[in-house]
Symmetry: C2
DNA sequence: TGTTGACCTTCCCATTATGGGAAGGTCTAG
DNA sequence: CTAGACCTTCCCATAATGGGAAGGTCAACA
């Protein structure tokens, strides 16, 4: 089948299908006229890529997973290891983002959010509380010296 | 002061300071020899950028926040609105990532993770449970017709 | 048969935010 | 005066994706 059909069946754009070929994730056959020719196996590979991309794996990780998928003698340990690493990556990023959300919510709560210009959010962006504390400590220390 | 000092005091690399100038986030003075010359106000701008970047705002959003910060007549409503939008963005991304983590944990739990090749994780990547169900339903429907 | 429209091909460019590195000018301390 | 530590601009690379141009191919229809 042509690339357009493969794109429709896999949910991967023709543009990206060509790119995945360029980085060697798949090698479709070519017809005499130069058109790429995709079989069911190729579509399966594209669906695999789509799925793993949707789960947040980088293309480098997808390539590794694809290699394991193709190797019938892989140890499932390897697959589980990659999945576990991705899970901890995600959990780290989630907790970082949750910390940011907590900070922003605290700041937003302190901001009137009306027509007045006074704004604790901008005040924090210009000099975060932590630094302001250190700054005050330094000023106090300076007075003493 | 020179760019190196501004970098050290703001925690922004010299490379990025030049880039921020290119996209018009700040315009430091120039000395006769062509060197950029940063004052305390420039360093404050850089710290503002650093802080907002750390909080996950895009440079476009940073530019908007910076404009509000510079406008002494801004309504704090505007600032709060941008912060709230960023919070909901983050919360959406967090919940998406949490869903992925749940999926991956479920799959990893089903995988032995030993030397055997059998692996429910790869099975899912090749044909996610949802699709497998739809596929079976279709096959059952086909038998009936 | 010829034309039209829907495909396909490759190639180049843009995006976001960051860093690497080269080639060359400037300044400062010894 | 020279060495080393700065500074400048310019180009390139990254990751994953899309846009679009120029040109070849194919199928259907008049």
């Amino acid at each position: 089948m042509n690339i357009g059909d493969a794109a429709e069946r896999s949910g991967v754009s023709a543009k990206m299908i060509r790119y995945y070929e360029e980085i060697a994730l798949l090698k479709p056959a070519r017809r005499a006229n130069g058109y790429r020719d995709y079989g069911q196996a190729d579509v399966s590979v594209l669906q695999f890529i789509r799925r793993t991309r949707d789960l947040g794996f980088s293309l480098e990780e997808v390539a590794n997973l694809l290699a394991l998928w193709r190797d019938r003698r892989r140890p499932s340990r390897e697959v589980k290891r990659l999945a576990a690493k991705h899970i901890t990556d995600l959990e780290r990023r989630i907790s970082e983002m949750r910390a940011v959300v907590r900070t922003l919510k605290t700041l937003a709560d302190q901001c009137h959010g009306d027509e007045r210009s006074e704004c604790p959010i901008l005040d924090d962006f210009a000099a975060p509380a932590e630094i302001r504390k250190v700054g005050s400590a330094r000023r106090r220390a300076a007075k003493r010296s």
